[in-house]
């Protein structure tokens, strides 16, 4: 017989899967469903934040870096696909992306060349963010930089990356981003049918990432991360190399953010520096805080709710939305530090436990983290 917590996890995941895979596609038109798909790509970032920030106490205000890198990897591949000799025959240099031609660049830069390959691009969208996270993590965590300082530095890096992209108009499209993306290996991503398929692919990938993070959190590594968050020195003086554990979880979150970014490019059809910088990075943290930084499914719901509210609000009152969002964040921090997940924990969980109880006795000696 499964333990109570395992049965609860199955229940939560099934509910989430049912909402995303059945209820929403049945209830929404293609346009709205594509919007939900776009929001879900942010959820790849927020569930990583649950592991990094909620579990391990590493607050990164620069997750947009990794989201953006993943997105750019996918955008570069798609742009090369769209820049066939046939499609660009009017350019002074046919066969290179249009924005390069506008900027008097006459040959494809070296770092674009590997992105001709789909498999390279798919690997790069996860590996490049993860490698950058390892480099940042090694530089920070080995020197015991943490807390607010770490948050500020990640923010500075996000800002630097945005400036770099904006400044490189000819090489990566500058402030306009990489636009006019059409096909993925010959498959047109702009049709309604493609949008449905991308939506389902996104949901399945998100559920897979949730399962992976659930495994990590339930492992001894997950317990060490929580121990480290509360008593870092005690973990260090129990024989652990604390920095390596932080680097691991930070890189894992970065890789997931990269997947989210790549999906975002596919669903939205372009990538631009506005999704890399400080503002989106902080917004991701707000989604996570609203949903609950200690709950993976909470973070997914938080992401969906805040974005849904943003879309409906900013359709009618575009200028007050940012204030509303700031107010929401302050209210959550002040009155509901555990986010929406803590509302569930306090009011609904006792009933769920009673229903699921039966004969599943807990003998695991473990405070299982709810998914």
């Amino acid at each position: 017989m499964l333990s109570l917590q395992n049965r609860k996890d199955i229940l939560f995941l099934s509910i989430l899967a049912a909402i995303l895979l059945i209820v929403l596609p049945m209830g929404l038109d293609a346009f709205r469903l594509n919007l939900i798909g776009k929001y879900l790509t942010y959820a790849f970032v927020t569930i990583g934040l649950v592991a990094c920030w909620g579990d391990s106490g590493i607050l990164s205000l620069g997750q947009g870096i990794f989201f953006g890198l993943g997105g750019y990897c996918m955008a570069m591949f798609l742009k090369l696909q769209a820049s066939t000799l046939e499609a660009t025959k009017n350019q002074s240099t046919p066969g290179i992306p249009d924005f390069m031609d506008w900027n008097q660049i006459t040959a494809l830069p070296w770092f674009w060349k590997p992105f001709h390959s789909l498999s390279f691009s798919l690997i790069a969208m996860m590996v490049i963010p993860a490698v950058l996270a390892v480099v940042i993590g090694a530089a920070m965590f080995k020197r015991r930089v943490g807390g607010t300082y770490f948050a500020i530095i990640t923010q500075a890096i996000a800002s630097v990356l945005t400036i770099l992209i904006v400044g490189q108009q000819g090489y990566i499209g500058g402030v306009n981003g990489i636009t006019d993306l059409r096909t993925l290996d010959g498959w047109d991503i702009r049709t309604d049918h493609a949008k449905y398929i991308l939506y389902y692919a996104g949901v399945v990938l998100l559920l897979a990432c949730l399962l992976l993070l659930r495994f990590v959190r339930k492992s001894k590594l997950g317990r060490i991360l929580r121990a480290m968050r509360d008593q870092e020195d005690r973990v260090r003086f129990s024989g652990y190399n604390v920095a390596n554990f932080k680097i691991f979880i930070f890189a894992l979150a970065a890789a997931m953010a990269g997947i989210g970014g790549a999906l975002f490019t596919l669903e939205v059809g372009f990538m631009s520096p506005t999704f890399v910088g400080i503002v989106p990075s902080i917004e991701m943290v707000i989604y996570c805080a609203v949903g609950g930084r200690n709950s993976l499914v909470g973070a997914v719901y938080g992401t969906l709710l805040v974005n849904w509210a943003r879309t409906s609000f900013s359709e009618s009152f575009p200028e007050i939305w940012t204030f509303a969002m700031g107010g929401l964040f302050i209210a959550i921090v002040l009155f509901l530090p555990g986010g929406l997940a803590s509302l569930y924990q306090n009011y609904i969980d006792p009933y769920v436990c009673r229903i699921l109880k039966g004969n599943g006795r807990q003998t695991s000696h473990t405070v299982d983290k709810a998914i």
Binding site: L221, R226, G239
Partner: protein, 248 residues
């Protein structure tokens, strides 16, 4: 066991200064295998700094620390722990979000690298060892409780248990009975006397009754230097020690 005279820990000319202030000044002492040494001294004498230097939390300005023939001043903290040095902090440091069982499990010396920890599985050996330790520290019926819910004294015991499960050759305790109730103090003294028999121990303690009960040898620190060293009887009657404790 051929070389009986080889000390377990040998500290030589150890100094550390913080912004010009010498917290530990040219300190040398040796700790034999199986010896229980208590360090006493007034506030600010550098007692905790000495433990910090040995376990690598503070880097020495000069001098050397040899432990079983290895130079500790060059090792990382986690390597010093793996070499066999366990350290208890002054305030109880336990993982409040985890159960007593999980607290002990994290301290059990296996699965210490990232990937070993990710694929770590509890086996019977580990569970038995955790049960055994939990009995020693009076927490055998609290294994499933969150550490946050324990009393102050129970947290101290838990941290002692977390050190024991590492089975260190050298155990360093920083004020293990501070802040305890009288009855907790009695049980802790009992517990410590039981667990320190088989290993070398370095203790900082202010409770003189407790010191008298356990110490093989007492070292008195004052302003980063050793001013007296020997049996409790010798130290108590040393005029320099009396001067330091009563003269100010």
């Amino acid at each position: 066991m051929t070389i009986q005279n080889d000390p377990l820990l040998s500290v030589e000319n150890l100094s550390v200064s913080f912004d010009g202030f010498k917290a530990v000044d040219d300190l040398s002492f040796q700790l034999e295998k199986g010896e229980i040494r208590v360090i006493i001294g007034p506030n600010g004498a550098g007692k905790t700094t000495v433990l910090d230097l040995i376990c690598g939390r503070t880097k020495a300005t000069s001098g050397s620390i040899q432990f079983e023939g290895r130079e500790l001043t060059r090792l990382k903290e986690y390597d010093i722990v793996r070499a066999g040095v366990g350290r208890k902090f002054q305030t109880p440091s336990v993982y409040e979000d985890l159960t007593v069982f999980e607290n002990l499990e994290i301290s059990y010396p296996s699965g210490r690298s990232v990937f070993e920890a990710l694929f770590f599985r509890r086996n019977k050996e580990i569970i038995d060892r955790i049960k055994e330790i939990s009995e020693m520290i009076f927490l055998d019926n609290q294994l499933d409780r969150k550490a946050a819910d324990l009393s102050h004294g129970q947290k101290q015991w838990l941290e002692i248990g977390m050190l024991l499960i590492q089975d260190p050759a050298l155990l360093m305790l920083d004020e293990p009975v501070a802040g305890m109730t009288v009855s907790e103090r009695v049980r802790t003294a009992e517990l410590l006397q039981r667990i320190i028999q088989s290993r070398s121990v370095l203790v900082i303690e202010h409770d003189m009754g407790f010191v008298e009960k356990i110490a093989h040898r007492v070292t008195v620190l004052h302003q980063g230097r050793i001013i007296s060293d020997g049996s409790m009887e010798h130290v108590k009657n040393d005029p320099k020690v009396v001067e330091v404790y009563l003269g100010h």
